[in-house]
Symmetry: C2
Subunit: 199 residues, 2 copies
């Protein structure tokens, strides 16, 4: 990890805990182990660090969404049962909520969205719009395979989406992401899936 990456890593950790404005250049440099002027060799100003993080995040989720799209068009490798059990907790929200970079970016976006419209739009897309779209895609596929009825799709997706969103805010975007909270999240997801789709 080079200096520029180290700066972004440290900055994200600090921004996601205390907010962008509350973190000083000296806080970041102290943690990285460089002088302030060195930071200005890699970034043109403080805002540039935030912009770079947002840009990196965009590229990151574009990659993930693209990967999910590919998976959806080649589902033959798995049985229907596997899809309903496995896909949901492996390929949908978890992949970008458990990932440390995405998780910290979401925290940062949760803080900054109130006074930064660009971040607000990205925040809404990442937590609400995109997951809903992906989940809709998956459930439509399940309906096409006869696993659930066509007319149930819309409200099944809405309920599923709301449940996962609530669990995300309650366990993954609440305080530190401790092993305990991760475990509680996984248990709740499992309990919901068992009751809703395996009974």
């Amino acid at each position: 990890m080079n200096t520029k990456e180290k700066i972004m890593d440290v900055a994200l950790n600090m921004f996601s805990e205390r907010g962008y404005e509350a973190v000083s250049i000296r806080d970041i440099c102290g943690e990285v182990g460089i002088k302030e002027s060195t930071l200005y060799y890699h970034f043109k100003n403080k805002k540039d660090i935030l912009d770079s993080l947002v840009e990196k995040f965009r590229a990151h989720i574009d990659g993930l969404l693209c990967h999910i799209g590919e998976f959806n068009s080649h589902p033959e490798s798995k049985s229907d049962k596997d899809i309903s059990e496995n896909m949901m907790d492996t390929y949908m929200m978890d992949s970008y909520l458990f990932d440390p970079f995405c998780n910290l970016m979401l925290r940062l976006m949760m803080i900054e969205q109130f006074h930064n419209e660009e971040i607000r739009v990205l925040y809404e897309k990442t937590l609400f719009t995109d997951p809903y779209k992906i989940q809709m895609k998956v459930f439509k596929m399940l309906a096409a395979n006869g696993v659930i009825a066509d007319e149930e799709v819309e409200w099944t997706v809405r309920e599923y989406h709301s449940y996962m969103t609530m669990l995300t805010f309650k366990y993954l975007l609440n305080g530190d992401l401790t092993p305990g909270r991760k475990k509680a999240y996984k248990k709740e997801v499992h309990d919901y899936l068992m009751r809703r789709f395996n009974s």
Copy 2:
């Protein structure tokens, strides 16, 4: 509204948009129209403003929860139908989510919870634990009145709670609380209630 109240009002508006640390004493005093030293006559330091807001919020929700408790013990004044339609969107979450003071406090708590354990606990209680408890109480009453089956109560509450929580984050705690977002929230609540309990 006296000076102290004006300071708290302005401070809450600024804290809830930019976060506690990002707002300076001079920002607040400038907006209120007083000199910095005057602020220190009313508050012993900056942290004291935040603490006073949290204290005021605690008293505020205690009052609301108490009021809901009273209402629940005198339900005779309404018919069963009224309860299932009216109580849900009038007495449960809306009362403290639409209220401007509570809404701004929740935004502030959303920002500060990541580095303030006291606020994190209050945040979790306000958005997750308390609403779930209240909703459980209401649905148990509905079950006692034969409106829904006893064994359905737990998961009905879980689903209802998750749906309302998702809508809260999506519409009431996302960007400015515009009339448009308020209206969209109400429409989604109405659609959900119609489908889930009136079909």
